[in-house]
Each structure stands twice: as structure tokens, then as C-alpha cells.
């Protein structure tokens, strides 16, 4: 009985978010019958790729009991410096090399976070707040602060690679870019790491209780270091996709997005205390945030209200289950 209600609670965030998404879509369709279309769906899919990859990364840090706010700075750093490097060295580099460089740079920057967290044992929020500024400042000061719209041809090429494209019966154009596949791969890879490897289970264990993890002989430092490098690598990937899809390397973009990303993850049920988080929840959270950011206008709410809406969703989405848990606890006491 007790277990059942707690089990409900665990899935509570996810069901709640799913219900809100469905309600939102119904509302949007009601006010604009064209909303429910392949075009909208593919547009939202495109918009979810970058934030989705970042959210998966942020979720992994939250599960391990830490928090990372520097991943947007890593993403933009990796994207911009990769573009500059490619243009300077070998503009015709194939897109997968460009991606690999960006992922590598991201992983190295993540390793810097890992160094401070694992070796110096500093609190993760403080470390990543610091590196957020440092990475961004270093990028703007030493690498460049000009927007680059003449991207390497292969990067532009990537943004034109489509899984499917076409025109709906209503005559509107739609397309699913290959970038969506990157999100799918990231989700599958993370799913595998978290649930099918001892490393992943160790990350959950560390988030559950750091001290106990040490006592039973889990390689805590190794796992934590991996988490920060992995987050860096995913940020590098998200960054380069962002640049390619936007067809511009803008050193001022992305930073500022980190709180929306963490909001999406928390909406999906990951807990800030660590040890809890699901990919389903995270993806639902991302969908909701993207939906609100892109389609609020459809239901007649001015777009300036989207921050308020996101804030309310967070308060409701995380506050309601917490409140219910408290009531249940008070009742059973």
C-alpha cells in the first residue's frame, strides 16, 4: 500500500507533465486547428534537439548528486572555437570531424570542472558557476566575439541533411533534420550507460549516498570525473549542432539557457538532492518547455509571458508532488 503510493509519487512528475502537455495541445488545437500538424511537430522536434541534449547532460549531473550550470558556456565555447579552428586550418573538413573536435573540446572543458569537483573537492554549484564565467570570458576575450555566418561548408551541409521532408496536404512544408537523430543517439547511449553499466549504477549510488558509495568500494572519483567529462562532451555536441542548424557561430548565444534546461530536468522528476532522474521525465520536461517557448502564442498568451508560464509550471510541477508527499507523511505519522 505504502509502496504503491510512493511508486505513484515517483512517476507523479512525469504523469503530471504529460497531462499538462496534452492539455496544452488540446487548447492550442482548439484556438488554432492548424496547430496539430506534421509541420508543428517537426518544428518542435527541431527546437528540442539542442535543449534536449543539454537536458540529458544536466540530468546525469543531477543524478550523481551535483549540479552543473556551466554546460551552456562549454557548448558555445566548443562550437565557436571549433568553427574558428576549422576555418583556419581546413575549411573543407568533413562534418563528422568537425563534430568530433567540438565534442573533444567540450569533454576537455568538462574535465576542468571534474578536476575542481573531484580533486579539489569543491561544491559543484560553485565550481560550475565559476567556470561558466571563465569559459565564456575566455572565449570572448581570446578566441573572438564576432558572429561568423560563413560557416565551413560541411557544417552548412549538415544542416541540410534531412531524414524526411515533404509538403503536407494543407500545403505547408515540413522537414526532419538528421540532428534529431543525434538526440536519439544521445538518449540511447545515456540510457545504456545509466541502466546497463556498473558505472551508471555507481552514478545513481553516489547520488543516493556519497559516503555509502565510498564505503562499499565504488570508484567515486572516477565516476564523478566521468560525469563531468560526459556532460562536457554532450555540451560540445549540442553546441556544434546549434551552430550548424542556426547557420551561424554566435559567441553570445546559448549562455542563459542553462536555467531553462535545468528547469526541464527538474520538471521531469529529477531531484536536486541527487539519486533520482529518468530519461522519460527529462524528455517530457524538455517537450513542455519547448512547447511553451515556441507555441504559447498559439493559445493567445503573449510571448513575453513565457517566462512567467515556465516559472509557474516549475512551481506547480515540482511543488505539487512535494506538497503531496508532505501531506502523506503527515498523515502516516
Amino acid at each position: 500500500m505504502n509502496r504503491l503510493s510512493l511508486k505513484n509519487l515517483a512517476t507523479r512528475n512525469e504523469t503530471l507533465v504529460a497531462v499538462v502537455i496534452v492539455a496544452f495541445c488540446l487548447l492550442a488545437t482548439f484556438s488554432d486547428p492548424l496547430f496539430l500538424s506534421v509541420t508543428t511537430l517537426t518544428d518542435l522536434m527541431r527546437a528540442s534537439v539542442v535543449i534536449g541534449i543539454l537536458a540529458v547532460a544536466a540530468m546525469m549531473v543531477l543524478i550523481s548528486g551535483g549540479i552543473d550550470v556551466s554546460f551552456t558556456a562549454i557548448a558555445v565555447f566548443a562550437m565557436y572555437s571549433t568553427t574558428v579552428l576549422t576555418l583556419a586550418v581546413m575549411p573543407d573538413m568533413p562534418w563528422y570531424f568537425i563534430f568530433a573536435i567540438s565534442i573533444g573540446i567540450g569533454a576537455c572543458l568538462g574535465a576542468i570542472n571534474g578536476f575542481f569537483v573531484v580533486i579539489c573537492r569543491l561544491p559543484t554549484l560553485i565550481v560550475t558557476l565559476g567556470t561558466l564565467s571563465v569559459f565564456r570570458g575566455f572565449l570572448l576575450t581570446f578566441i573572438g566575439s564576432q558572429r561568423i555566418s560563413a560557416l565551413p561548408p560541411e557544417m552548412r551541409g549538415f544542416s541540410r541533411m534531412m531524414i524526411a521532408r515533404g509538403t503536407t496536404e494543407a500545403g505547408s512544408f515540413y522537414a526532419i533534420p538528421w540532428a534529431v537523430a543525434a538526440l536519439v543517439i544521445v538518449v540511447l547511449l545515456t540510457l545504456f550507460i545509466l541502466h546497463k553499466t556498473m558505472l551508471g549504477r555507481s552514478i545513481f549510488a553516489i547520488g543516493g549516498s556519497l559516503e555509502s558509495a565510498r564505503r562499499i568500494g565504488i570508484n567515486v572519483r572516477g565516476a564523478q570525473f566521468f560525469v563531468y567529462c560526459y556532460v562536457g562532451a554532450l555540451a560540445g555536441l549540442a553546441g556544434i549542432i546549434h551552430g550548424a542548424m542556426g547557420r551561424m557561430a554566435d559567441p553570445f548565444s546559448l549562455v542563459g539557457l542553462e536555467l531553462s534546461v535545468i528547469a526541464a530536468v527538474v520538471l521531469g522528476g529529477a531531484r536536486l538532492i541527487g539519486g533520482y532522474g529518468t530519461l522519460t521525465g527529462t524528455l517530457l520536461g524538455v517537450s513542455l518547455i519547448v512547447l511553451v517557448e515556441n507555441s504559447l502564442i498559439v493559445v493567445g498568451i503573449p510571448s513575453t509571458w513565457q517566462f512567467v508560464t515556465i516559472g509557474l509550471l516549475i512551481l506547480l510541477g515540482t511543488g505539487l508532488p512535494a506538497w503531496q508527499a508532505k501531506r502523506a507523511a503527515a498523515k502516516s505519522a
Binding site: T197, M198, F204, A205, G208, E211, S212, G217, I218, A333
Partner: protein, 498 residues
């Protein structure tokens, strides 16, 4: 050098451990035989934790020798200790509350297998085997956060079994358990012994595990002070060895027949917790409330102080009605409450003694619009002296104090409010024997000074030494009222679980 008996598993000889200039262990000998249960007794600070840390390889001895199966070592490292089959169950169990029972049991085993991939099937199999060995049934897929404390302990035991433990060391195993759960634990310990696994109990509350033990080792101030077959010890002699003195039992309560009636509880009830509760408390009386976990004793204790809102009935103090479910009103009326879990409910651990004592009463130290710091300090010093709190000074952090002294700080806070009724929930949980006797003496003194005291506890000797009457609760009702002196501990224990 040592004569190696075939069945001696681990032997420590002349272990010395110094931290800086402090000698924690001074030539300690210790021995564990296969399939034997041992009590390692000692008060806080006696060196028993240090000895355990050396056994599991977390600390290295300054000098002395360790024999595992007759093989000498100057020290063990954690990996060697684990490989030799030494496993510790810490007081907090070291479990992962976010993971399933199966994963908690099998995690360490899987890790030592050097596997990279997580094998869910093997995890469940390992966990099920371990559970079968001690003959208990716990849902493998339940998250540990959802199972009761007694089950968490079993999961921790199974974790040791799963990694082929030959010696399981249990740190304060009975603190969180009710009487009935302790009995169930002892049954499991017997099974472990039968299958050749040795068990070491580390505790300062050993009387209840004495019956399953073969040997007793007592440490005091880092030295062996007594050892021998368990049948030569009883609760009193253990206490004497641990404290080095005879702890006087508190005197039976005074005659209070003519005293003023302070608290009257009338028809108090709360759905699903307790029902039909009636009792009176006189000035100077110490009233015990007991019952197994889930009998409603804790809810009732909280209700007296307004932390739980009863749905019917009334509480009056000296004829004045106290609003239900309102702790502030209860405080103002003169009721004090010292919670069971002082660490999370009662004290601000990282704050100083003075702040812990004076919190909530800054009004009394007002001078103009400012705090009168001198009067704060005088008060804190007064209580440190009165309650014999062992602390460097009034600004010491509470978490740096021992359990007994922390409990005294919690008491000091309420006593400084000059309460007329004091509700003590588990006053000596997690407190060592010496401090416990002191706390009982303090309870006596307080009662003599005219305060009415309610003690909620499942520590039967404690109830029998401090209380005049004991209300036995069962399924949320007062099952019977026992007068102290009419029953001994064994009869009372039988009544508790009947």
C-alpha cells in the same frame, strides 16, 4: 608466534593506536572465532570504534599485530579486509535509499566481480540467495527508502552475506529496533552462527544481545578491562566494567498522592493513530508511556505538545484548556517536549550550546531593543553546570558533544522555559550507560522539584527505574496501566509484545 587454533579467524595482539598525542588504543587484544558471536562493549570514547576501523582496514595501528587465519599482518587495508570476509554494518546501514533492495544487496559483490556491465538478473539472484540464507522475504524491487528500518538492517546484513562475509560487525544494531524486532534479529544471528559466520556486536546497549553471544570484550579508555565467556556477564556487571563504577539506579518515585493534578487528558483521539486516551499527571509524577512501534505512543507524545492535531478530546493543564495541535500554545501553557530524534528534530547541530539553549526565548533576554548577551551567557553556563554537560565552553558546537551531552542540551533548552510538564520522547536513545544513569537522575530531580514528567520509551529498564506508573499502549489504545514495582522487566516485556 601465536598459537593458532584451527577455528580462530581473526586475532589482534597488542594493538596500539595513537592519533597525534592521544592514545586511542593501548595494547588491546581481541579475538574472533569462526561462527562465534562476540560483544564488544565500551562507552563512547572507549576505543571500540577505532578497533573496528582497524579491523576493516580504514585505520592502521601504530603497533601490534593482526592475524587472519593465522597469517600475520602489521595492518590491513580495506581491500584485504573485504577479501578476508570482514564486513561492517554501520549504524546508518550505508544503504542507497534511491536504489532497489536487490541492488543494495548485490552492489558490492558486482563491483568486486570487476564487471563493467550491470547484470540485472544476476543482481536479483544474488540478492534472493542472500535473503533466503537468513530466511526473510523482502520485495527485491522495492526502493530502500520505502521499507521499514528493521528491513533496512536485514538488507545490510544480506549485503554482507552476498559478499561472502565470514565476520559481520554490527555497530549499535539494536538502537533503532523495537523489542520484537530485536528478537527477530537475534534469531537471524543464530542462523548466521550456524552457517559459520562470526558476528561482533559493538554497542553500549548490550544486555539484549548477550544471550546469543559466546564471548564478551569490554574496553575502557583504550584498554581491555574485562573479557570472558558471555555467561559470566550480566547487564549490571557489563555496566560496571564499561563505566568503571557502579551506576546507581534512580530511586523509586516519591509519594505523590497529595500533589496537585497538572495535566488532564480527556478522551483524546486521532483517527488511525490513537483513540480514547484518558490519563492524569500530577506534579512531581513521572509517568511512562510504552508500546511497540505503531502502537500510537509517538503520535500521542507529539499530540501532547501539539505537533500532531488530535481530532477529538481535550488536554487541560491546571484546569485550563490547551488548544489542540498548536505547539506554540502548548509551550506558553508550560509544556515542554524533547523529541526522540534530537539530531533532526531537536537541536541545531552546527550551532553553539548557548544558541541551542536560548533559541525561542530571546524575549527573556531583551534589554531595550537588543539582546542582553551577558544574561544569555550566564544562563548557558548555569545549565552547563547544573546538568553536568561536558563541553569546553558555552560556544562549543553541539555536534562536537557526545550523545548524552547533546541530550542534556536539549533538556536545558526546555528547562530554561521553566515548564510545568515535560514530555520526553526516548530520553536516552543513543546515549551511553553512564550518561543514561545521569539523565535518569536528572529526571528524578526535576520531578522532585514539582514538574510533571511524561517519559515515552520502549526501554523497559528505563521506564521501571524512572516512572511511577506506566501506560501500556496497544493499537492506539491504553491497554493497561502498570505500577512500577509490581512487575519486573521480563513480565513487562511479555506484556509489551502480547
Amino acid at each position: 608466534m601465536s598459537k593458532h587454533d584451527d577455528d580462530t579467524f581473526i586475532e589482534l595482539k597488542g594493538i596500539v593506536k595513537q592519533y597525534g598525542g592521544v592514545t586511542a588504543l593501548d595494547g588491546v587484544d581481541f579475538r574472533v572465532k569462526t561462527g562465534e558471536a562476540i560483544c564488544l562493549a565500551g562507552e563512547n570514547g572507549s576505543g571500540k570504534s577505532t578497533l573496528i576501523k582497524i579491523l576493516v582496514g580504514v585505520e592502521q595501528p601504530t603497533s601490534g599485530q593482526i592475524f587472519v587465519d593465522g597469517k600475520p599482518y602489521s595492518h590491513l587495508n580495506p581491500r584485504q579486509a573485504a577479501a578476508s570476509g570482514i564486513s561492517v554494518i554501520f549504524q546508518d546501514f550505508s544503504l542507497f535509499s534511491n536504489l532497489t533492495v536487490a541492488e543494495n544487496i548485490a552492489f558490492a559483490t558486482q563491483l568486486s566481480g570487476k564487471k563493467r556491465l550491470f547484470d540485472r538478473g544476476a543482481t536479483r539472484r544474488i540478492a534472493q540467495e542472500a535473503l533466503d540464507r537468513i530466511g526473510v522475504d523482502i520485495d527485491l524491487d522495492a526502493r530502500v527508502e520505502t521499507i521499514p528500518v528493521a528491513h533496512k538492517q536485514l538488507v545490510a546484513i544480506c549485503r554482507g552475506l552476498a559478499s561472502n562475509a565470514r565476520l559481520i560487525i554490527m555497530d549499535e544494531p539494536t538502537t533503532a529496533l523495537t523489542g520484537r524486532e530485536v528478537q527477530a534479529l537475534l534469531g537471524i544471528i543464530r542462523k548466521l552462527k550456524d552457517s559459520g559466520i562470526a558476528v561482533v556486536f559493538v554497542s553500549h546497549k548490550l544486555a539484549e544481545v548477550l544471550e546469543v553471544c559466546e564471548e564478551v570484550f569490554v574496553l575502557r579508555n583504550g584498554k581491555n578491562v574485562a573479557e570472558g565467556p558471555a555467561r559470566d556477564f550480566n547487564a549490571a556487571s557489563l555496566t560496571r566494567h564499561m563505566t568503571g563504577r557502579d551506576v546507581p539506579e534512580a530511586k523509586p518515585p516519591l509519594n505523590i498522592d497529595r500533589a496537585e493534578t497538572l495535566l488532564v487528558v480527556n478522551q483524546l483521539g486521532k483517527e488511525g493513530a490513537f483513540e480514547d486516551i484518558n490519563f492524569e499527571l500530577k506534579a512531581g509524577e513521572v509517568l511512562g508511556i510504552s508500546g511497540v512501534l505503531g502502537s500510537g505512543r509517538t503520535s500521542l507524545a507529539k499530540a501532547l505538545f501539539g505537533l500532531v492535531a488530535p481530532s477529538k478530546g481535550s488536554i487541560t493543564l491546571s484546569g485550563k484548556n490547551i488548544p489542540l495541535g498548536n505547539p506554540i500554545a502548548a509551550t506558553q501553557a508550560g509544556i515542554g517536549y524533547v523529541p526522540e530524534d534530537r539530531l533532526t528534530e531537536g537541536l541545531f547541530l552546527t550551532q553553539s550550546i548557548i544558541r541551542n539553549v536560548s533559541v525561542g526565548r530571546f524575549d527573556h533576554h531583551r534589554s531595550g531593543g537588543f539582546l542582553d548577551l551577558t544574561s544569555l551567557v550566564d544562563e548557558a553556563r548555569g545549565w552547563i553546570e547544573k546538568l553536568r554537560i561536558k563541553a569546553p565552553d558555552y560556544d562549543a558546537e553541539v555536534k562536537s558533544l557526545s550523545g548524552g551531552n547533546q541530550q542534556r542540551v536539549a533538556l536545558a533548552r526546555w528547562l530554561s522555559q521553566t515548564p510545568r510538564v515535560l514530555v520526553l520522547n526516548g530520553p536516552s536513545v543513543g546515549v551511553d550507560v553512564g550518561s543514561k544513569a545521569d539523565i535518569h537522575a536528572i529526571i528524578r530531580e526535576l520531578a522532585d522539584s514539582g514538574i510533571g514528567i511524561v517519559v515515552i520509551s520502549d526501554d523497559l529498564p528505563e521506564l521501571l527505574t524512572t516512572c511511577g506508573r506506566i501506560l501500556m499502549m496497544k493499537d492506539g489504545r491504553i491497554d493497561s496501566i502498570v505500577m512500577a514495582g509490581e512487575m519486573d522487566e521480563i513480565e513487562l516485556a511479555a506484556k509489551l509484545v502480547s
